[in-house]
Amino acid sequence: MTVSDFDNYRPPEPPRRSRRGGKRRRVGTGDGSGEMPMVPEPEFASYYGRPVVKPPPWGDPIGAYLFLGGVAGGSALLGLGGQLTGRPVLCRNSRLAALTSVGIGAAALVADLGRPERFLNMLRTIKPTSPMSLGSWILAAFSAGVGISAASEIDRLTGSRLPLGPLRRMLRAVEGPAGVEAALFATPLSAYTAVLLSDTANPTWNAAREDLPFVFVGSASLAAAGLAMITTPVQEAGPARALAVLGVAVDVIAMRVMENRMDPVAAEPLREGAPGRMLTWSQRLAVAGGIGVLAGGRHRPVAAACGLALLTASALTRFGILRAGIRSTEDPRYTIEPQKKRLAARRQAGIVDDSITTAG
């Protein structure tokens, strides 16, 4: 065939399969005449195995924000509860926890922007179609309430030494309403991040859209409760213990339900690889923490250890889900297979007019 000496260096070409009339497609039907394929045919074609959708440029700061936003939301609720039921230490600690976590979380969000100096553009408009836009407003409104209520706590902690002057009386007057306002935005803050992740073309996050909010509020509750159990004496931490147990139950059940209801292919990244291990450990730690709270939550060291386990569990959940989604964009399989399946299912059901591919 060839005349060039350099062709000696070529690897040998695979033998060309000959065409045998119209029978070729019946190869491997079980009559023994066909050749067995060495490698099973892939169920889908792709373009050199390259990704179809792109991963968002969201790194660890976003994972940290998902975690801290949940902690802040749950803490603000505990703070309001403490405020209303006369638990001053729980109220103070929760308010301070909410301020700290929302502060660090917001800073992480800004740090992850491509142009951090333009972070205020987030509040340029209110867009109902953009969970990120709504979330920014929720975060801003939440931070305002938390900032005021926590400022009052800081003032009290420092023995009224903050240079507030006549503003002190005003601060004392609005701290209660501010705590209520923060709590109003606390649950949206804990839940919207799930919508933010699901409202994307990311195969895993999008497939998890039905149940991810429940996983996230469960995770937020157990994390905030865990933090309160660390910071607050057991006498006042009763509600935190109860919330921790409820949070663990919701988190574990919602995670199970979510994985079972998702497309099995799109759910794979939640089970495999490093994200899969993170999520497995998050479930184990959450269950261990929950059982620990029930068994010995009234002993401070046990409560603190359980709190730490719960906080770790929540962080692992958030990072695990974030990374599983990013991983699901690396292999085109996670995008193409579920899409082909749902397209085929619709065609099976007689809906043939909504495919992006048409014969004319």
Binding site: P57, W58, T129, G135, P239, I356
Partner: protein
């Protein structure tokens, strides 16, 4: 689509028909003139070391922040060609819209006087396709953009405002086609921006900001053809009013089908699909995933009202759980 999701029809633009591309891959010769013209006109940096990607003649890789046209190269043997032909035939037999009036399918499939015998299947073929931003009717990137940096132009296209975008990256996740991307630093400035000092280069524009095809908005407002379509030597890339392009595309598919080339199909011409139809319509010769296109894209915001509802229930549940916790943990 739900009321939330944006679409070109939401803003009535009098006197400006919706513009788009029709990329007829059956006459693409893979010259990559579109890639070059796009890079030059838009002053996009090259985004990688020069390397061979071991994917036929495609060493560009994929669409991205710095690559707004990407020519895909696929080499197929007879087996794949037959598979493509079969899948195209299956598509025709679904009785999908656009193939002549109903009840007249026989006539549409077999125009009289035309030889409809499929041609001898070749042993080998190249598939070459110039991919580009789809400028969707319901654009995921535009919907999820929190700053309003992405907007719908008067020509029905979707464009990023470089000076508004703060690089949050939500649009990157929102695009079902993997088109838009946040620009990291390019490895080289483009010639026009280069300093004349040897060894020194001007910095890349718009670093940290989402970037994608603008359908040459700057050329369009001047009545010019986008750079890629202008440069295309075979008219594989056609630019014009979307409605006209779609009817051109339908005619072209019918023509190819009449020649027995059942593998020909349209991508994005159906307004009932998951993204409401695309501004950039393609004529493909195999399944979309072969070209790296999603087989059933769906704008994520189509399900957004439902997602908000679920999140609302979850949020209410959290509130209730906290209240219950304070009731249960009431003993002090």
């Amino acid at each position: 689509m739900n009321k939330l999701t944006e679409a070109p029809g939401h803003i009535p633009h009098t006197g400006h028909p919706r513009k788009g591309f029709f990329t007829d891959t059956s006459i693409c010769i893979g010259c990559k003139a579109c890639e070059v013209a796009c890079k030059e006109w838009n002053r996009n940096p090259h985004n990688s070391e020069y390397e061979l990607l071991e994917s036929s003649y495609d060493n560009t890789g994929a669409l991205g922040a710095d690559t707004w046209r990407h020519v895909a190269f696929i080499e197929q043997d007879r087996e794949h060609i037959e598979k493509a032909r079969d899948s195209g035939r299956a598509l025709v037999s679904l009785g999908m819209p656009g193939l002549g009036p109903p009840g007249n399918s026989d006539a549409a499939g077999k125009p009289s006087g035309v030889d409809t015998t499929p041609p001898e299947t070749p042993d080998f073929r190249w598939l070459m396709s110039s991919d580009v931003c789809k400028h969707c009717t319901n654009a995921g990137c535009l919907d999820v953009c929190p700053t309003g940096a992405l907007f719908r132009t008067e020509h029905g296209t979707v464009v990023v405002q470089d000076d508004v975008c703060n690089g949050c990256g939500t649009c990157v996740a929102g695009c079902p086609f993997g088109v838009i991307e946040r620009r990291s630093d390019g490895t080289a400035g483009v010639k026009a921006e280069r300093d004349f000092t040897p060894g020194e280069q001007a910095p890349t524009r718009n670093v940290g900001v989402a970037q994608k095809c603008t359908l040459c908005y700057d050329r369009m407002v001047d009545g010019q053809t986008p750079a890629c379509a202008q440069a295309c030597p075979t008219t594989s890339i056609k630019y014009g009013e979307r409605e006209e392009l779609v009817s051109t595309a339908r005619q072209r598919v019918a023509e190819l089908h009449a020649q027995g080339l059942t593998e020909a199909r349209l991508y994005g011409a159906n307004d009932a699909d998951g993204v409401g139809g695309t501004g950039s319509v393609f004529l493909l010769l195999d399944e979309p995933e072969v070209y790296g296109l999603p087989p059933d894209p769906r704008v994520p915001t189509a399900d957004l009202p439902r997602m908000f509802k679920r999140a609302g229930i979850a949020a209410a549940g959290m509130l209730a759980a906290t209240a219950a916790a304070f009731l249960a943990g009431g003993r002090r």
